[in-house]
Amino acid sequence: MAATISPSVTTSRPARAGRGKPIDRQWSVPYRFLLPYLIVFAIFWLWPLIDSFLLSFQNTRVNPWTVDVAVNWRRLWVDQAFHAALRNTLIVLVLQVPIMLALATAIALALDSPKLAARPLFRFAFFAPIVVSDVAYSVVFRLLFNGQYGAVNQALTAIGLPALDWLHDPTWMMATIIIAVTWRWTGYNAIIILAGLQTIPKDLYEAAAIDGAGAWRRFRHITLPLLKPVIVFALVLSVIGTMQLFTEPWLITDAQSSGVSIEMLGTYLFKQGFRNLNFGYASAIAYTIAAMAAAMAAFNLLLARRSPT
């Protein structure tokens, strides 16, 4: 894809020849620029990445911690609560991500179309959620989806539909989480897809129109194939984000208390790691999330490279 952010000269060029005296550039200069960031990066990302892997092979329920290669991984295999969290997360993932990306693509196409009137207003409506914090929108959605007097149920009953137990029934809790996350992230993905749309040369459409291709065929054979790398990028980011959802189930449903809640991988990890202080087991859960996210990312990238739509 062509760069849209900046004119793209990304690598440095050696000093031009024939400029008189060669410019003295010490070998250590780049490292000095890098050092402050690299220190932070090493301590707070690289080492934790390794440490968490090592922790997953330790029994952290005894004091002092001991190396026990299988204890956490064996537990993952038999832990019903973990399986429930995994299942819930995958269900949300499989439903929410495609719905959101389809919606984001449709919205991006609409916002890119000169036929849409009052575009700045529409852009505001769909993009504003990107600045809203997880916590703020979670408490708002918890109120709106309240089973007794929430605005959503009031709207449903007003048009003759039954009120739903959004925050306590397992199925509807899942729906609430899906709706909430979709509201928050569709605009974000629409921005990414819109940026992708705007890199498609418009003479392609003109040529296709001259050849008699209708709007649907132009979308199917020009827009979609050229948009694929951008959609795959959005897909990978969305999968990673949804895999570790925490704030929404934590604050919208009752995942904090032991009440009725929708346990997801993010909330289960939080409870194991930071409530029970079982860091070893929590690390095993974290690496499971990472492995699945990596597998899905790799699969998506592979898919994107293979089929020419």
Binding site: S8, P30, R123, A125, A136, Q154, K202, Y205
Partner: protein, 288 residues
């Protein structure tokens, strides 16, 4: 000079037959969807102005005058104003530090050749795809248990500085500068730091603005890490303080909506005026 992309506002496509009716149809389809999208924020604003007793009324109430009473309740029950102050200060310090560190690193990647460059860069890109869950546990053990830094600003500000977004973003921006400009300064005898701070940095100001906005927003909205290391009332950030009210037996909904409004409204206003900076920050990784 680095420039930010303008969202293209007109896009001359061959009109697909019925131009006018197509326009009316598209706008008519999109309007209900947009209203649905605006509803949560609109209702948040509405409920923030109401006392708890009117929020759960069976019909949609008119806006009230209870906003400041709600804020006062919030300040009382969650020390929310202190938490807002913490969030502002932590966000500002984090932003300045992160912009500085990642600009320097991005400059090194953009303008120099050095041993290990490619390996290092791949590692930085990997941070975007490795779930945060994997690093948060050791971060917590280090900061809270081994160093005992819970409830300090160091704990809240320093670990999130690992974020590599700025490096990738600034690398792209510095990459666009003409080499001749930097070389001329070198010939004139300027040191590398001086070239960086007095020539390179001022030239990428729009990129720095975009990055600052994205980083401040990330800090302002972050929840999990402050929830772990900022637990005392004095060290809480605004999201943590707000989230703590959900667990109460009687949830003060009016106060919660007022708090959500205080956290959201300033950002929405900034977004309206600086939309393209947000867009530039978000699309930085996507389109390349």
């Amino acid at each position: 000079m680095t420039t930010l992309p303008e969202m293209r506002t007109t896009f001359a496509r061959p009109a697909g037959g019925s131009g006018r009716w197509g326009s009316i149809l598209l706008t008519a389809v999109m309007t209900p969807l947009a209203l649905l999208w605006l509803a949560p924020l609109a209702l948040m604003l509405l409920f923030a102005t109401l006392p708890d007793s009117s929020i759960f009324s069976p019909t949609l109430p008119a806006p009230g005058t209870h906003f400041f009473a709600n804020v006062a309740a919030l300040a009382g029950s969650a020390n929310f104003l202190r938490a807002l102050g913490n969030s502002v200060m932590i966000g500002l310090i984090y932003t300045v530090l992160s912009v500085l560190l990642t600009s320097m690193a991005g400059y090194a990647f953009a303008r120099f050749e050095f041993v290990g460059k490619n390996v290092l860069f791949s590692l930085l890109v990997a941070t975007l795809t490795v779930p945060y869950a994997v690093v948060v546990i050791p971060q917590y053990i280090l900061i809270a248990r081994e160093l005992g830094l819970s409830n300090t600003w160091v704990a809240l500000i320093v670990p999130p500085l690992f974020n590599s977004l700025g490096v990738l973003f600034m690398r792209q921006s510095f990459g666009g500068l003409p080499q001749e400009l930097l070389d001329a300064a070198r010939v004139d005898g300027a040191g590398e730091w001086r070239i960086f701070f007095t020539i390179a940095m001022p030239l990428v100001r729009p990129a720095i603005a975009a990055l600052s906005i994205i980083l401040f927003l990330a800090s302002w909205n972050s929840y999990l890490w402050p929830l772990l290391v900022g637990t005392t009332p004095g060290a809480r950030t605004a999201p943590v303080a707000l989230g703590s009210l959900i667990g109460l037996n009687v949830v003060p909904w009016g106060a919660l909506m007022a708090g959500a409004t205080l956290m959201t409204l300033p950002m929405v206003v900034v977004f309206v005026f600086l939309q393209r900076y947000f867009v530039a920050g978000i699309t930085a990784g996507a389109v390349k």
